[in-house]
Symmetry: C2
Subunit: 347 residues, 2 copies
């Protein structure tokens, strides 16, 4: 759930929670902020939400509390994410000193104590709202070139004997410490593990996204892992079929029972570039339900091929429709419209 | 609203009514039945709904009452349609004698008294549920070839001195009489007017759909008219833009105030071939709202070009989103997904 590339109105998030319950999906990962907008009001640093798209495309703290409590009552935890230090360009609209410079706006300024004060303020506010034991700190797709092209930051790097890669690690580890100080365990995207795995706090869960084969390395290193390999479980990949969602196995090549336990689960990801309130439901459903069946079924009981699943999943999508959830037809890719007249249960 | 090419669950129809209210659209035209399915239970002839797609793709009479009353409380009348004699192939699943033959299933058998008994039973049941003063009897796209290729019907035609065209007229006028006997005024699609205009009952409203230029002929003949020209106001034409919806004028070439009064209004049509519960809302909205503004604004106050409307309609679509209605972005055709990250109000 990415609310920064397009704002998702509160009723839309509520409807996503309602529909998750039907599939027994029990964690809503809320990627709140991104480079395009900062839609959540943060009491400690109220100008952060100056980076929202507009006055009406903001969540108040009460909105966030409502969402978290609505979800909790339905057995769904809300995992909040602030994605640092990259993808954070919107933070500087209200506080320009968070940017390396007005013309080079991300990653967040690693050399500025104020950066970490703001992160501390956000996580302090989060700890009052988001009661799930994990917080997500992002850490993906960090392009550090603004650090070396900004004289102030470049001097700081030299002064501290760091190269860009060191500074990236320094930032991630420092943000982890702040999160832990507020009582959280941490999730980071896999680039942090790929770049400096053994330096991560042992409380870190590594969130795989780039593709297969990562989870087995993470658990070999003794860290926990969440699987979201984009080739299979990214809902914004419209050419990813429900069959692909169904057949994706988080435990691939992991045979040691102790290591299997380190796979906390899987997550399907709905990124916000091409979805908004108009098309999010049919981009999520029914493909997310195919993944949910895999996640909740012991491997030995799973269908060997998807033919046996088709009628059951078609029936489930009709049930979603009857409950008012705009789940798309099974036939065709992604959120394809029905190609011809017909019965719900056969499309 | 066509519930026969794809079934629309009751919550979806309710959500369409809710969203109509936001645009002051005040008649829901429910094209209940079509050749593909017969989803409504009819107490007088209970086997008709054997022609539904499945057990779960049916409306009970209580569903229909709920829909009508829910709509009435919100200022929306429900116009029910049975489309005869064409588009009625699903009727014979339960009562095969309504078909010319098992292999030639429409139009309804004009030679069989039972056909008109069934229509009488349906309209009798309708009169207890659908309290709007009009009923829609269809009459479009009638291919009479099954009548002449079926020996029984062919003999009947000869016996009664009718050709196919006479029989089509006979059918439509007889169905009109039945509807009037149940207290209804009648709406028929424009083919009935194009083929035998002066024979139609004076209580007939002609429903234009084929294109422009029809309304002026209808009102010249002294009949009332509803405008739905497909080149502008068919929502299933995904290449029809909101600007085209906005600029379409039902009173084109009608200058006489008495004749202008015979234009009862306009209707945007959402046919069901490629929409179902997954994509109906964003195929209707925001384009239907553009037509609604035209319908509710005196011609002299309408924007001369659509540039002045864009910001207002964009704001309205965001309001729809905030209320949980999946209205699509203005930019692009039909129900196009957002092309990039951005603010609702600018897409």
């Amino acid at each position: 759930n990415n609310t920064a590339r397009h704002y998702l109105p509160v009723p839309v998030i509520i409807s996503v929670i309602d529909s998750m319950v039907y599939s027994k999906l029990n964690v809503l990962h809320w990627h709140i902020v991104d480079e395009q907008s900062f839609p959540l009001e943060i009491p400690s640093y109220p100008k952060l939400s100056n980076g929202a798209y507009s006055y009406s495309e903001k969540y108040t703290i009460n909105d966030a509390i409502h969402i978290v409590q609505y979800a909790e009552k339905r057995g769904v935890n809300v995992l909040a994410e602030i994605d640092v230090p990259g993808h954070a360009g919107s933070w500087g609209v209200g506080y320009p000193s968070l940017w390396p410079s007005a013309t080079c706006q991300q990653p967040l300024d690693v050399s500025n104590d104020f950066t970490f004060k703001v992160i501390d303020g956000i996580l302090s506010d989060f700890s009052k709202v988001f009661k799930f034991k994990f917080v997500h700190l992002g850490g993906d797709e960090v392009d550090t070139s603004c650090w070396t092209t900004t004289p102030r930051i470049k001097s700081w790097l030299v002064q501290h004997g760091m190269n860009e890669s060191d500074a990236y690690r320094y930032f991630v580890l420092k943000a982890q410490k702040i999160a832990i100080s507020h009582g959280y365990e941490i999730i980071n995207w896999e680039e942090t593990f790929n770049n400096f795995g053994d330096k991560l706090d042992r409380k870190t869960v590594v969130h795989n996204w780039l593709g297969g084969g990562v989870a087995e390395k993470v658990v070999s290193a003794g860290l926990r892992c969440i699987v979201s390999n984009q080739d299979k479980w990214y809902l914004d990949h419209l050419d990813a079929t429900w069959e692909g969602f169904y057949m994706n196995e988080p435990l691939t090549n992991i045979y040691n029972p102790e290591q299997q336990k380190l796979i906390l689960g899987g997550e399907v990801c709905m990124w916000g570039e091409h979805i908004d309130a108009s098309d999010i439901q049919q981009t999520i459903w029914p493909r997310a339900a195919a993944a949910a069946e895999r996640l909740w079924t012991p491997v030995e009981k799973l269908a060997k091929d998807t033919t046996a699943v088709t009628a059951r999943l078609a029936h489930f999508r009709c049930l979603l429709n009857e409950r008012g959830v705009a789940a798309a037809p099974l036939a065709g890719y992604g959120r394809t419209a029905p190609s011809e007249p017909g019965s719900c249960v056969r499309q």
